[in-house]
Protein backbone atom coordinates (compact mmCIF):
# COMPACT_ATOMS: atom_id res chain seq x y z
CA UNK A 1 0.00 0.00 0.00
CA UNK A 2 2.86 2.29 0.88
CA UNK A 3 4.31 1.79 -2.59
CA UNK A 4 1.02 2.67 -4.28
CA UNK A 5 0.83 5.94 -2.34
CA UNK A 6 4.45 6.73 -3.12
CA UNK A 7 3.85 6.15 -6.82
CA UNK A 8 0.68 8.24 -6.64
CA UNK A 9 2.61 11.08 -5.01
CA UNK A 10 5.42 10.84 -7.55
CA UNK A 11 3.39 10.41 -10.73
CA UNK A 12 0.02 12.10 -10.19
CA UNK A 13 -0.23 14.58 -7.31
CA UNK A 14 1.84 16.58 -6.49
CA UNK A 15 4.30 14.83 -8.78
CA UNK A 16 4.62 14.59 -12.52
CA UNK A 17 1.07 15.03 -13.81
CA UNK A 18 0.01 17.93 -11.59
CA UNK A 19 3.35 19.67 -11.84
CA UNK A 20 3.57 19.51 -15.64
CA UNK A 21 0.01 20.84 -15.99
CA UNK A 22 0.60 23.61 -13.49
CA UNK A 23 4.02 24.40 -14.97
CA UNK A 24 2.46 24.90 -18.40
CA UNK A 25 -0.29 27.07 -16.91
CA UNK A 26 2.40 29.16 -15.20
CA UNK A 27 4.32 29.50 -18.47
CA UNK A 28 1.13 30.66 -20.18
CA UNK A 29 0.37 33.17 -17.38
CA UNK A 30 3.93 34.46 -17.65
CA UNK A 31 3.79 34.84 -21.44
CA UNK A 32 0.28 36.29 -21.44
CA UNK A 33 1.17 38.88 -18.79
CA UNK A 34 4.36 39.71 -20.68
CA UNK A 35 2.25 40.27 -23.80
CA UNK A 36 -0.38 42.32 -21.99
CA UNK A 37 2.30 44.53 -20.40
CA UNK A 38 3.48 45.26 -23.96
CA UNK A 39 -0.19 45.87 -24.96
CA UNK A 40 -0.23 42.80 -27.17
CA UNK A 41 -2.90 40.11 -27.29
CA UNK A 42 -0.59 37.31 -26.27
CA UNK A 43 -0.72 33.54 -26.88
CA UNK A 44 -3.89 31.46 -26.32
CA UNK A 45 -4.14 29.31 -23.17
CA UNK A 46 -3.09 26.08 -24.92
CA UNK A 47 0.14 27.55 -26.33
CA UNK A 48 2.64 25.76 -24.00
CA UNK A 49 0.89 22.42 -24.59
CA UNK A 50 0.93 22.94 -28.36
CA UNK A 51 4.63 23.86 -28.25
CA UNK A 52 5.42 20.78 -26.18
CA UNK A 53 3.46 18.33 -28.37
CA UNK A 54 4.96 19.85 -31.51
CA UNK A 55 8.49 19.50 -30.14
CA UNK A 56 7.79 15.86 -29.18
CA UNK A 57 6.69 15.12 -32.75
CA UNK A 58 9.68 16.76 -34.42
CA UNK A 59 12.78 15.09 -35.76
CA UNK A 60 15.58 14.88 -33.25
CA UNK A 61 19.04 15.76 -34.55
CA UNK A 62 22.19 14.87 -32.65
CA UNK A 63 25.35 16.50 -34.06
CA UNK A 64 28.08 14.13 -35.15
CA UNK A 65 30.65 15.68 -32.82
CA UNK A 66 28.35 15.52 -29.80
CA UNK A 67 28.22 12.76 -27.22
CA UNK A 68 24.90 10.98 -27.97
CA UNK A 69 24.48 9.36 -24.55
CA UNK A 70 24.93 12.63 -22.63
CA UNK A 71 22.81 14.43 -25.21
CA UNK A 72 19.86 12.10 -24.55
CA UNK A 73 20.30 11.77 -20.78
CA UNK A 74 20.80 15.39 -19.68
CA UNK A 75 17.21 16.63 -20.29
CA UNK A 76 15.90 13.73 -18.20
CA UNK A 77 18.29 14.60 -15.37
CA UNK A 78 17.07 18.20 -15.40
CA UNK A 79 13.42 17.07 -15.29
CA UNK A 80 13.97 14.45 -12.60
CA UNK A 81 15.83 16.74 -10.22
CA UNK A 82 13.12 19.43 -10.40
CA UNK A 83 10.36 16.84 -9.88
CA UNK A 84 12.20 15.46 -6.84
CA UNK A 85 12.61 18.92 -5.36
CA UNK A 86 8.86 19.50 -5.47
CA UNK A 87 8.13 16.51 -3.18
CA UNK A 88 9.92 18.25 -0.29
CA UNK A 89 7.85 21.43 -0.52
CA UNK A 90 4.72 21.89 1.63
CA UNK A 91 1.77 22.58 -0.67
CA UNK A 92 -1.72 22.25 0.81
CA UNK A 93 -0.69 22.30 4.48
CA UNK A 94 2.42 23.01 6.49
CA UNK A 95 3.83 19.48 6.20
CA UNK A 96 5.49 18.34 3.00
CA UNK A 97 4.96 14.76 1.79
CA UNK A 98 8.58 13.92 2.51
CA UNK A 99 10.54 15.99 4.95
CA UNK A 100 13.60 15.67 7.15
CA UNK A 101 15.78 18.18 8.95
CA UNK A 102 17.88 19.92 6.32
CA UNK A 103 15.61 19.50 3.30
CA UNK A 104 15.96 23.23 2.56
CA UNK A 105 19.53 22.57 1.44
CA UNK A 106 18.50 19.48 -0.51
CA UNK A 107 15.80 21.42 -2.40
CA UNK A 108 18.27 24.21 -3.05
CA UNK A 109 20.84 21.85 -4.54
CA UNK A 110 18.23 19.91 -6.51
CA UNK A 111 17.35 23.28 -8.06
CA UNK A 112 21.01 23.77 -8.98
CA UNK A 113 21.20 20.50 -10.93
CA UNK A 114 19.20 21.83 -13.94
CA UNK A 115 21.73 24.67 -14.32
CA UNK A 116 24.55 22.12 -14.29
CA UNK A 117 22.77 19.99 -16.89
CA UNK A 118 22.38 23.09 -19.09
CA UNK A 119 26.12 23.61 -18.75
CA UNK A 120 26.91 19.99 -19.64
CA UNK A 121 24.36 20.05 -22.46
CA UNK A 122 26.03 23.06 -24.03
CA UNK A 123 29.47 21.63 -23.44
CA UNK A 124 28.66 18.26 -24.98
CA UNK A 125 27.08 19.72 -28.09
CA UNK A 126 30.56 21.10 -28.98
CA UNK A 127 29.11 23.98 -30.99
CA UNK A 128 30.77 27.35 -30.46
CA UNK A 129 27.59 29.15 -29.43
CA UNK A 130 26.52 26.33 -27.13
CA UNK A 131 29.93 26.26 -25.43
CA UNK A 132 29.87 30.02 -24.89
CA UNK A 133 26.37 29.79 -23.48
CA UNK A 134 27.29 26.99 -21.11
CA UNK A 135 30.33 28.88 -19.81
CA UNK A 136 28.04 31.84 -19.13
CA UNK A 137 25.62 29.47 -17.38
CA UNK A 138 28.23 28.48 -14.85
CA UNK A 139 29.65 32.00 -14.45
CA UNK A 140 26.15 33.21 -13.69
CA UNK A 141 25.66 30.38 -11.21
CA UNK A 142 28.39 31.86 -9.02
CA UNK A 143 26.71 35.26 -9.07
CA UNK A 144 23.14 34.49 -7.99
CA UNK A 145 23.64 31.33 -5.93
CA UNK A 146 25.21 33.01 -2.89
CA UNK A 147 22.63 35.82 -2.40
CA UNK A 148 19.79 33.34 -2.94
CA UNK A 149 21.12 30.87 -0.38
CA UNK A 150 21.85 33.59 2.19
CA UNK A 151 18.40 35.10 1.76
CA UNK A 152 16.84 31.65 2.27
CA UNK A 153 18.98 31.16 5.37
CA UNK A 154 17.44 34.25 7.04
CA UNK A 155 14.03 32.65 7.72
CA UNK A 156 15.74 29.35 8.55
CA UNK A 157 17.82 31.12 11.21
CA UNK A 158 14.76 32.85 12.62
CA UNK A 159 12.80 29.62 12.94
CA UNK A 160 15.81 27.63 14.13
CA UNK A 161 15.20 24.84 11.63
CA UNK A 162 16.55 23.77 8.25
CA UNK A 163 13.44 21.81 7.41
CA UNK A 164 10.94 23.54 5.12
CA UNK A 165 7.96 21.98 6.87
CA UNK A 166 9.12 23.07 10.34
CA UNK A 167 9.98 26.55 9.04
CA UNK A 168 6.52 26.86 7.53
CA UNK A 169 4.91 25.67 10.79
CA UNK A 170 6.96 28.23 12.75
CA UNK A 171 5.87 31.13 10.55
CA UNK A 172 2.23 30.02 10.53
CA UNK A 173 2.28 30.25 14.32
CA UNK A 174 3.97 33.68 14.30
CA UNK A 175 2.91 35.36 11.02
CA UNK A 176 4.12 38.79 12.19
CA UNK A 177 7.70 37.54 11.86
CA UNK A 178 7.21 37.21 8.08
CA UNK A 179 7.49 41.00 7.91
CA UNK A 180 11.06 40.79 9.22
CA UNK A 181 12.12 38.92 6.07
CA UNK A 182 10.79 41.44 3.58
CA UNK A 183 14.27 42.47 2.32
CA UNK A 184 15.25 38.82 1.91
CA UNK A 185 12.04 38.23 -0.04
CA UNK A 186 13.00 40.80 -2.67
CA UNK A 187 16.60 39.58 -2.82
CA UNK A 188 15.31 36.05 -3.39
CA UNK A 189 12.91 37.25 -6.12
CA UNK A 190 15.76 38.94 -7.99
CA UNK A 191 18.19 36.05 -7.52
CA UNK A 192 15.57 33.52 -8.65
CA UNK A 193 15.27 35.49 -11.88
CA UNK A 194 18.94 34.64 -12.43
CA UNK A 195 18.37 30.98 -11.57
CA UNK A 196 15.54 30.75 -14.10
CA UNK A 197 17.70 32.58 -16.68
CA UNK A 198 15.10 35.19 -17.48
CA UNK A 199 15.50 38.84 -18.41
CA UNK A 200 17.50 40.77 -17.09
CA UNK A 201 19.68 37.71 -16.36
CA UNK A 202 19.08 35.75 -19.57
CA UNK A 203 22.75 36.16 -20.43
CA UNK A 204 23.34 32.43 -21.16
CA UNK A 205 20.56 32.38 -23.77
CA UNK A 206 21.17 35.86 -25.20
CA UNK A 207 19.67 35.31 -28.65
CA UNK A 208 21.11 38.50 -30.09
CA UNK A 209 24.66 37.37 -29.27
CA UNK A 210 24.96 33.61 -29.00
CA UNK A 211 21.92 32.23 -30.89
CA UNK A 212 20.25 30.15 -28.16
CA UNK A 213 23.07 29.47 -25.71
CA UNK A 214 23.34 25.94 -24.36
CA UNK A 215 20.30 24.75 -26.31
CA UNK A 216 21.58 25.81 -29.73
CA UNK A 217 22.04 22.23 -30.96
CA UNK A 218 19.00 20.74 -29.27
CA UNK A 219 15.91 19.90 -31.26
CA UNK A 220 12.73 17.85 -31.02
CA UNK A 221 11.98 15.82 -27.88
CA UNK A 222 15.19 16.77 -26.09
CA UNK A 223 14.48 20.48 -26.39
CA UNK A 224 10.87 19.87 -25.34
CA UNK A 225 11.95 18.11 -22.16
CA UNK A 226 14.43 20.89 -21.38
CA UNK A 227 11.69 23.50 -21.82
CA UNK A 228 9.38 21.48 -19.60
CA UNK A 229 12.10 21.30 -16.95
CA UNK A 230 12.47 25.09 -17.07
CA UNK A 231 8.69 25.50 -16.62
CA UNK A 232 8.73 23.17 -13.64
CA UNK A 233 11.71 25.02 -12.21
CA UNK A 234 9.62 28.19 -12.32
CA UNK A 235 6.86 26.50 -10.30
CA UNK A 236 9.27 24.96 -7.80
CA UNK A 237 11.12 28.25 -7.30
CA UNK A 238 7.83 30.15 -6.85
CA UNK A 239 6.60 27.55 -4.35
CA UNK A 240 9.89 27.68 -2.46
CA UNK A 241 9.64 31.46 -2.12
CA UNK A 242 5.98 31.27 -1.15
CA UNK A 243 6.72 28.67 1.54
CA UNK A 244 9.77 30.40 2.96
CA UNK A 245 8.77 34.07 2.76
CA UNK A 246 4.98 34.18 2.43
CA UNK A 247 3.94 31.51 4.91
CA UNK A 248 2.77 28.93 2.37
CA UNK A 249 -0.74 27.67 3.06
CA UNK A 250 -0.96 29.32 6.52
CA UNK A 251 -2.05 26.00 8.00
CA UNK A 252 -5.63 26.42 6.78
CA UNK A 253 -7.97 23.67 5.64
CA UNK A 254 -6.23 21.69 2.83
CA UNK A 255 -8.61 23.01 0.14
CA UNK A 256 -8.14 26.62 1.23
CA UNK A 257 -4.43 25.97 1.63
CA UNK A 258 -4.27 24.65 -1.93
CA UNK A 259 -6.09 27.74 -3.27
CA UNK A 260 -3.67 29.91 -1.30
CA UNK A 261 -0.76 27.98 -2.87
CA UNK A 262 -2.12 28.67 -6.38
CA UNK A 263 -2.72 32.37 -5.61
CA UNK A 264 0.72 32.87 -4.10
CA UNK A 265 2.66 31.08 -6.83
CA UNK A 266 0.75 32.95 -9.55
CA UNK A 267 1.44 36.22 -7.71
CA UNK A 268 5.16 35.43 -7.70
CA UNK A 269 5.03 34.48 -11.39
CA UNK A 270 3.31 37.82 -12.07
CA UNK A 271 6.05 39.72 -10.21
CA UNK A 272 8.71 37.82 -12.17
CA UNK A 273 6.88 38.63 -15.44
CA UNK A 274 6.85 42.31 -14.44
CA UNK A 275 10.63 42.20 -13.82
CA UNK A 276 11.05 40.57 -17.23
CA UNK A 277 9.03 43.30 -18.94
CA UNK A 278 10.57 46.41 -17.41
CA UNK A 279 14.22 45.38 -17.64
CA UNK A 280 16.70 44.74 -20.43
CA UNK A 281 19.49 42.20 -20.50
CA UNK A 282 22.71 43.19 -18.72
CA UNK A 283 26.22 41.96 -19.47
CA UNK A 284 27.76 39.08 -17.56
CA UNK A 285 30.29 41.23 -15.66
CA UNK A 286 27.57 43.73 -14.78
CA UNK A 287 25.62 40.88 -13.32
CA UNK A 288 28.58 39.64 -11.29
CA UNK A 289 29.14 43.16 -10.02
CA UNK A 290 25.47 43.65 -9.17
CA UNK A 291 25.13 40.32 -7.39
CA UNK A 292 28.33 40.52 -5.37
CA UNK A 293 28.39 44.24 -4.66
CA UNK A 294 24.71 44.83 -3.86
CA UNK A 295 22.66 41.65 -3.63
CA UNK A 296 25.01 39.63 -1.39
CA UNK A 297 25.60 42.45 1.15
CA UNK A 298 21.86 43.18 1.30
CA UNK A 299 21.13 39.53 2.01
CA UNK A 300 23.85 39.54 4.69
CA UNK A 301 22.20 42.63 6.18
CA UNK A 302 18.93 40.67 6.28
CA UNK A 303 20.76 37.88 8.09
CA UNK A 304 22.05 40.42 10.64
CA UNK A 305 18.52 41.75 11.22
CA UNK A 306 17.30 38.20 11.76
CA UNK A 307 20.08 37.48 14.27
CA UNK A 308 19.19 40.63 16.24
CA UNK A 309 15.46 39.87 16.15
CA UNK A 310 16.13 36.35 17.33
CA UNK A 311 18.40 37.58 20.13
CA UNK A 312 15.96 40.20 21.46
CA UNK A 313 12.46 38.97 20.78
CA UNK A 314 12.62 35.18 20.67
Amino acid sequence: MEIVWTLLYMLVFPGFLFLTTYGMICEWVDRKLYARFQSRLGPPWFQPEADFIKLLSKEEIIPEAANPVMFRLLPLFALASVLTAFLYLPIWNTAAIYSFSGDLIVVFYLLTIPTLTFFLAGWHSTSLFATLGSVRNVTQLFAYEVPLLISLLGPALLSGSWSLSEMNQFFVERPILLLVNIIGFFVALIAVQGKLERVPFDIPEAETEIVAGSFTEFSGKLLGIFRLAIDLELVVAATLISVVFLGGSFGLHPVLGFILFIVKTLLIVAILALFRTVMARIRIEQMMKFCWRYLAPISLFQLLINILVKAWFL
Partner: protein
Amino acid sequence: MLEKVVKWARVKSPWVLHFNTGACNACDIEILAALAPRFDLERFGVQLKGTPRHADVILCSGPVTRQIKDRLVRIYEQMPEPKFIVAVGTCACSGGVFDGCYNVEGGIDSTIPVAAYIPGCPARPEAIIDGVVKLLEKIDQPEKFQEPEQPVMIGGANLDGQ
Protein backbone atom coordinates in the same frame (compact mmCIF):
# COMPACT_ATOMS: atom_id res chain seq x y z
CA MET B 1 -6.25 10.49 -33.13
CA LEU B 2 -2.61 10.98 -32.23
CA GLU B 3 -1.95 12.22 -35.74
CA LYS B 4 -4.72 14.79 -35.32
CA VAL B 5 -3.25 16.05 -32.05
CA VAL B 6 0.21 16.30 -33.59
CA LYS B 7 -1.16 18.16 -36.60
CA TRP B 8 -3.07 20.52 -34.32
CA ALA B 9 0.09 21.21 -32.30
CA ARG B 10 2.11 21.76 -35.46
CA VAL B 11 -0.39 24.30 -36.78
CA LYS B 12 -0.70 26.09 -33.45
CA SER B 13 3.00 26.48 -32.78
CA PRO B 14 5.07 27.45 -35.83
CA TRP B 15 8.43 28.77 -34.72
CA VAL B 16 10.14 30.84 -37.36
CA LEU B 17 13.72 31.56 -38.30
CA HIS B 18 14.41 34.75 -40.17
CA PHE B 19 17.07 34.40 -42.84
CA ASN B 20 18.24 37.12 -45.20
CA THR B 21 19.46 35.51 -48.41
CA GLY B 22 20.57 38.78 -49.99
CA ALA B 23 17.65 41.17 -49.57
CA CYS B 24 17.92 44.95 -49.54
CA ASN B 25 16.67 44.87 -45.90
CA ALA B 26 13.19 46.21 -46.69
CA CYS B 27 11.51 42.80 -46.40
CA ASP B 28 13.53 42.09 -43.25
CA ILE B 29 12.19 45.21 -41.60
CA GLU B 30 8.65 44.22 -42.58
CA ILE B 31 9.20 40.74 -41.10
CA LEU B 32 10.41 42.31 -37.86
CA ALA B 33 7.42 44.67 -37.89
CA ALA B 34 5.13 41.64 -38.20
CA LEU B 35 6.82 40.03 -35.18
CA ALA B 36 6.76 43.20 -33.05
CA PRO B 37 3.90 44.16 -30.66
CA ARG B 38 1.78 46.03 -33.20
CA PHE B 39 0.97 42.94 -35.28
CA ASP B 40 1.78 40.45 -32.51
CA LEU B 41 2.35 37.14 -34.29
CA GLU B 42 2.60 35.41 -30.91
CA ARG B 43 -1.22 35.22 -30.81
CA PHE B 44 -0.89 32.56 -33.54
CA GLY B 45 1.88 30.88 -31.56
CA VAL B 46 4.65 32.22 -33.81
CA GLN B 47 7.94 32.79 -32.03
CA LEU B 48 11.18 34.03 -33.53
CA LYS B 49 14.00 31.59 -32.86
CA GLY B 50 17.71 32.17 -33.27
CA THR B 51 18.73 28.69 -34.34
CA PRO B 52 17.51 26.49 -37.22
CA ARG B 53 17.41 23.52 -34.83
CA HIS B 54 14.40 25.02 -33.02
CA ALA B 55 12.58 26.39 -36.05
CA ASP B 56 9.74 24.96 -38.16
CA VAL B 57 9.49 27.70 -40.76
CA ILE B 58 12.23 29.77 -42.41
CA LEU B 59 11.19 33.21 -43.59
CA CYS B 60 13.61 33.85 -46.46
CA SER B 61 13.91 37.35 -47.86
CA GLY B 62 15.79 38.34 -50.97
CA PRO B 63 17.17 36.60 -54.07
CA VAL B 64 19.64 33.76 -53.55
CA THR B 65 23.09 35.14 -54.26
CA ARG B 66 25.97 32.86 -55.24
CA GLN B 67 27.62 33.76 -51.94
CA ILE B 68 24.65 32.73 -49.77
CA LYS B 69 23.64 29.59 -51.69
CA ASP B 70 25.79 27.12 -49.73
CA ARG B 71 24.82 28.74 -46.44
CA LEU B 72 21.11 28.56 -47.30
CA VAL B 73 21.39 24.86 -48.10
CA ARG B 74 23.31 24.28 -44.88
CA ILE B 75 20.72 26.13 -42.75
CA TYR B 76 17.99 24.16 -44.53
CA GLU B 77 19.67 20.86 -43.78
CA GLN B 78 20.22 21.80 -40.14
CA MET B 79 16.48 22.09 -39.57
CA PRO B 80 14.62 19.09 -38.15
CA GLU B 81 11.70 17.68 -40.18
CA PRO B 82 8.95 18.73 -40.84
CA LYS B 83 10.11 22.09 -42.21
CA PHE B 84 8.56 24.76 -44.43
CA ILE B 85 10.17 27.57 -46.36
CA VAL B 86 8.34 30.86 -46.93
CA ALA B 87 9.68 33.22 -49.61
CA VAL B 88 8.98 36.78 -48.47
CA GLY B 89 9.09 39.52 -51.11
CA THR B 90 9.24 39.60 -54.87
CA CYS B 91 12.99 38.95 -54.98
CA ALA B 92 12.61 35.82 -52.87
CA CYS B 93 9.73 34.59 -55.05
CA SER B 94 11.38 34.98 -58.43
CA GLY B 95 14.62 36.90 -58.16
CA GLY B 96 12.77 40.14 -58.89
CA VAL B 97 14.77 42.86 -60.56
CA PHE B 98 17.96 40.93 -59.81
CA ASP B 99 16.92 37.93 -61.90
CA GLY B 100 19.66 37.12 -64.40
CA CYS B 101 22.25 39.19 -62.57
CA TYR B 102 25.77 37.72 -62.68
CA ASN B 103 25.86 37.07 -58.90
CA VAL B 104 22.28 35.87 -58.42
CA GLU B 105 20.93 32.32 -58.70
CA GLY B 106 17.27 33.37 -58.80
CA GLY B 107 14.40 32.95 -56.35
CA ILE B 108 14.55 30.77 -53.25
CA ASP B 109 13.01 27.89 -55.25
CA SER B 110 16.14 27.76 -57.39
CA THR B 111 17.92 26.28 -54.38
CA ILE B 112 15.46 24.73 -51.91
CA PRO B 113 11.74 23.79 -52.09
CA VAL B 114 9.38 26.61 -51.11
CA ALA B 115 6.02 26.11 -49.35
CA ALA B 116 4.59 29.62 -49.67
CA TYR B 117 5.25 32.66 -51.84
CA ILE B 118 4.49 36.14 -50.48
CA PRO B 119 5.12 38.80 -53.16
CA GLY B 120 5.50 42.52 -52.51
CA CYS B 121 8.29 45.06 -52.63
CA PRO B 122 8.53 44.97 -49.68
CA ALA B 123 5.84 42.49 -48.59
CA ARG B 124 3.62 44.20 -46.01
CA PRO B 125 3.32 42.68 -42.50
CA GLU B 126 -0.36 41.94 -43.25
CA ALA B 127 0.71 40.01 -46.35
CA ILE B 128 3.30 38.06 -44.36
CA ILE B 129 0.72 37.17 -41.70
CA ASP B 130 -1.76 36.21 -44.43
CA GLY B 131 0.81 33.99 -46.11
CA VAL B 132 1.84 32.23 -42.91
CA VAL B 133 -1.79 31.70 -41.85
CA LYS B 134 -2.67 30.29 -45.31
CA LEU B 135 0.32 27.97 -45.12
CA LEU B 136 -0.86 26.74 -41.71
CA GLU B 137 -4.39 26.29 -43.10
CA LYS B 138 -2.95 24.19 -45.88
CA ILE B 139 -0.99 22.02 -43.47
CA ASP B 140 -4.13 21.65 -41.36
CA GLN B 141 -6.72 20.95 -44.10
CA PRO B 142 -5.03 20.06 -47.38
CA GLU B 143 -8.33 18.73 -48.81
CA LYS B 144 -9.80 22.27 -48.93
CA PHE B 145 -7.24 23.29 -51.54
CA GLN B 146 -7.51 22.36 -55.21
CA GLU B 147 -3.82 21.55 -55.57
CA PRO B 148 -2.59 20.53 -52.13
CA GLU B 149 0.86 19.63 -53.43
CA GLN B 150 1.45 23.09 -54.89
CA PRO B 151 2.89 25.87 -52.72
CA VAL B 152 0.70 28.65 -51.30
CA MET B 153 0.68 31.89 -53.29
CA ILE B 154 -0.58 35.17 -51.94
CA GLY B 155 -2.34 37.65 -54.27
CA GLY B 156 -1.20 35.84 -57.43
CA ALA B 157 -3.39 35.05 -60.46
CA ASN B 158 -3.19 31.30 -59.74
CA LEU B 159 -4.28 31.60 -56.12
CA ASP B 160 -5.91 28.27 -55.40
CA GLY B 161 -8.84 27.26 -53.27
CA GLN B 162 -10.03 30.77 -52.39
